[in-house]
């Protein structure tokens, strides 16, 4: 079982958070899994970690449609942070809007982080595939 130090889930749907946690823990070993109900909460937490010189999560599961700060807004803000490590950001969405896919492509090409676009539902095989440190 691969070992990943820290994983963060950003999604406002508790069922999705529950499911992802369950899938991740049954697939890989990791120190901690944190989850946040919207982009802003997650962003604030990461900022705090940076300030405290704590390790930041290596893998992020990101929902798009969220209140307060949605997935794109989070991504926009996150990519501006001074993080030199390659972070793996897995976008998880049920959207089939072509706009979202285009957004992903533009972010993917302008960042040194690895960003993937995944449509729900997510199963064990998919989790194994995308939960790799970048």
């Amino acid at each position: 079982m691969t070992k990943i130090s820290d994983i963060t889930i950003i999604d406002d749907d508790p069922i999705v958070v529950f499911g992802l946690r369950k899938l991740i823990t049954s697939t890989i070993k990791c120190n901690s899994i944190e989850s946040y109900g919207n982009g802003l909460l997650a962003y604030d937490a990461i900022m705090k970690k940076l300030d405290d010189k704590q390790p930041i999560p290596k893998v992020i599961f990101l929902d798009i449609n969220m209140p307060i700060m949605d997935g794109w807004e989070f991504l926009e803000a996150f990519l501006k942070l001074p993080i030199t490590d390659k972070i793996k950001i897995n976008i998880i969405t049920s959207s089939i809007d072509s706009f979202d896919k285009k957004q992903w492509e533009s972010y993917k090409n302008k960042s040194h982080h690895v960003i993937t676009f995944n449509q729900k539902p997510i199963n064990k095989i998919k989790i194994e595939e995308i939960t790799q440190v970048a």
Binding site: D13, I15, V16, F18, G19, K22, L23, G37, N38, N65, P67, I68, S94, S95, I96, D97, K120, P121, I122, N123
Partner: protein
């Protein structure tokens, strides 16, 4: 002994003879000549002794025989011959001779006398020439002549007249069959009458344009003329002409037909047609143009310029255009113009102006063709409107489809994930937890479907039944319905809407709109103060504007302005925020042709302005 004429005594007499005369001896030597002869041929005395043959080398050899006969006392005419006089002019003479007797009745020579007939020869030649000319003229102009001798009842046709009637050259006409060649009806009646009047009343006729049927059966237009002739005051006959004018008449008829065709065409075209002269005065207008300008007769428009028919500004513009076309000779084709008449009525035209050129290539006017496209333009604008609506609807539909698919997909994804877990889960507690989550997911799905159903109902209800509603009273009613909710949240509503303020709205939509905005304001109240909601209303530009202002959290419009009325967008971290209320409200207001404006200050409050359309 050779008989020698006695010359000395007689020569003086001979000289004085009144006609040109020469006496020759039997050796053909000219012995005496009259003064006249001398004047014509030679005034040299020595000429007298010359031989006749030397004097007239071209002619005299012919006469040798005649003169020999003459010497035998048997003179014969010598005919008409041409000779040259001393001025080298051609002169015609009729030559005659007679034996010259001496006193003893012996023939001693011949007397030759000349009769100058140059004038009559010339006259004859002239006559021949004239006749020839006449004949040619007749052939070219196709004018034939005829002559009718009343006494002999004899009619003569010249060859051209015969040719016109297409009869053979040997044809003998008479007055009856001549008249019979004229076409039965008007032509025959007219010629009969004319000939009758000429014969009986001495009345001439001319320029009668009539039709004949020729001997070979062709119909022909002719111009007939006739004139009585008198001899010593008595009518003796008629002379006249007949001219073949068939080609001209046919051409004239064709021209007339063409003109008529053109006129019929331009009068019945469903476009306005006019011709203007260089001063932009109308010189031709068709029916459509008359109708457009409200006159019955084209005469009411002819000679008038645009300045008399249209307001000066548009007349000046049109005049400028006319001048441009006439100066550059470049036509204006299919230009869209707006025409304003004196009564202010506007018409959209597709108009063309084409220069009319004379044979020097200069413009002498323009021909204008204008197609009324007012109805077309109206239809076009209607169509554009429909396309606009369709495209907005399409956008909405696509947006809605995305929303629906997204929401339904997220639920179904949850179902499938949870069911996957359930399949493999051994732990009973965990199983129960998953089942509980499935129940939640199912409830969420139902709620989502309910909301979507609301949206569909609004957007598919094409029959919007708006009623006049007193807004003040309505707010009071809603306030009463929400009393419990408002009391629990310590919210206060201030109704400053005028008591008689009425708006047009679908009653249920208005209930929803008011309830939604009021509960929203309460939901997103500022944690440090009680919620206070103020409702006011004014009328402006066909809209009744309801303003709902609160003292709540406020919305960051810069961030969320565009998404504010989107579906499932919430901007507050609030447990009651479902993100559907404003979306439905917006749909309801749109459906009633209204609009929403919003202004907000974070931490201070939000103000919504709802525009109810008073018209439709």
């Amino acid at each position: 002994m050779i008989k020698v004429p006695q010359t000395s005594s007689t020569s003086y007499l001979i000289r004085q003879l009144p006609t040109p005369t020469a006496f020759i001896d039997t050796n053909y030597n000219i012995v005496h000549t009259s003064e006249k002869w001398m004047n014509i041929f030679n005034n040299n005395e020595s000429y007298n002794t010359a031989s006749l043959f030397t004097a007239f080398p071209n002619l005299s050899s012919k006469w040798k025989k005649e003169l020999e006969n003459c010497f035998k006392g048997n003179p014969q005419p010598m005919g008409i011959h041409q000779a040259k006089d001393i001025d080298d002019q051609d002169v015609w003479f009729e030559w005659s001779n007679a034996p010259w007797y001496d006193t003893n009745e012996n023939i001693i020579g011949a007397i030759i006398q000349l009769n100058n007939i140059t004038d009559s020869v010339n006259n004859e030649l002239e006559l021949n020439k004239k006749n020839l000319l006449l004949k040619q003229q007749a052939e070219i102009t196709k004018i034939g002549q005829w002559e009718y001798d009343i006494l002999d009842n004899q009619l003569t046709w010249c060859t051209t007249t015969k040719a016109i009637h297409e009869v053979p050259p040997h044809f003998t006409p008479n007055i009856e069959n001549a008249i019979h060649y004229f076409k039965e009806g008007h032509s025959r009646n007219a010629i009969s009458m004319a000939v009758f009047e000429a014969q009986n009343k001495g009345k001439a006729y001319s320029n009668l344009k009539l039709q004949i049927i020729t001997a070979t059966g062709n119909e022909k237009w002719v111009m007939a003329g006739g004139k009585p002739i008198y001899h010593k005051g008595e009518l003796i006959g008629l002379i006249g002409t007949i001219q073949d004018i068939h080609d001209q008449v046919e051409a004239d008829i064709k021209t007339l037909d063409n003109e008529k065709l053109l006129r019929t065409l331009i009068d019945n075209l469903p476009v306005n047609v006019y011709i203007k002269d260089t001063e932009s005065r109308k010189i031709l207008v068709n029916k459509a143009e008359c109708e457009f300008l409200g006159v019955k007769n084209p005469e009411d428009l002819l000679g008038k310029s645009d300045f008399e028919l249209y307001p000066s500004e548009s007349a000046a513009r049109s005049r400028e255009e006319d001048l441009l076309v006439m100066n550059t000779l470049k036509p204006i084709i299919g230009k869209e113009t707006l025409n304003i008449k004196l009564d202010g009525k506007e018409t959209s035209f597709l108009s063309s102006k084409i220069p009319l050129l004379n044979n020097k290539g200069l413009a002498y006017g323009i021909v204008g063709i204008s197609l009324d496209i007012t109805k077309l333009k109206e239809k076009e604008s209607e169509l554009r409107n429909i396309i606009n609506i369709a495209s907005i609807q399409n956008k909405k539909l696509l947006n809605f489809a995305h929303i629906v698919s997204h929401n339904l997909r997220s639920h179904s994804a949850n179902f499938s994930m949870l069911l996957d877990f359930l399949k493999t889960e051994k732990d009973e507690d965990e199983k129960n937890r998953i089942i509980e989550m499935l129940t939640n997911a199912s409830n969420n799905l139902l709620e989502t479907l309910d909301s979507l159903n609301d949206v569909i109902t609004i957007n598919t209800n094409t029959n919007i039944d708006k009623k006049n509603i007193n807004l003040h009273n309505k707010v009071i009613t809603i306030n009463q319905h929400l009393t419990g909710y408002l009391l629990n949240n310590r919210a206060e509503i201030k109704n400053t809407i005028p008591e008689d303020f009425k708006i047009k709205s679908v009653p249920t939509y208005l209930d929803g709109i008011l309830t939604n905005f009021i509960t929203n304001a309460v939901k997103f109240k500022h944690p440090d103060r009680n919620s206070k909601i103020t409702l006011s209303a004014i009328k402006k530009n066909n809209y009744s504007i309801l303003t709902i202002a609160d003292n709540g959290l406020g919305i960051d419009l810069e961030k969320y302005g565009k998404k504010l009325f989107g579906m499932y967008k919430t901007f507050h971290d609030h447990k009651d925020a479902r993100g559907i209320g404003l979306y439905i409200t917006k749909n309801q207001i749109d459906a009633m042709n209204g609009k929403i404006e919003v202004s907000s200050e974070i931490g201070m409050g939000t103000e919504f302005k709802i525009f109810f359309n008073d018209k439709n």
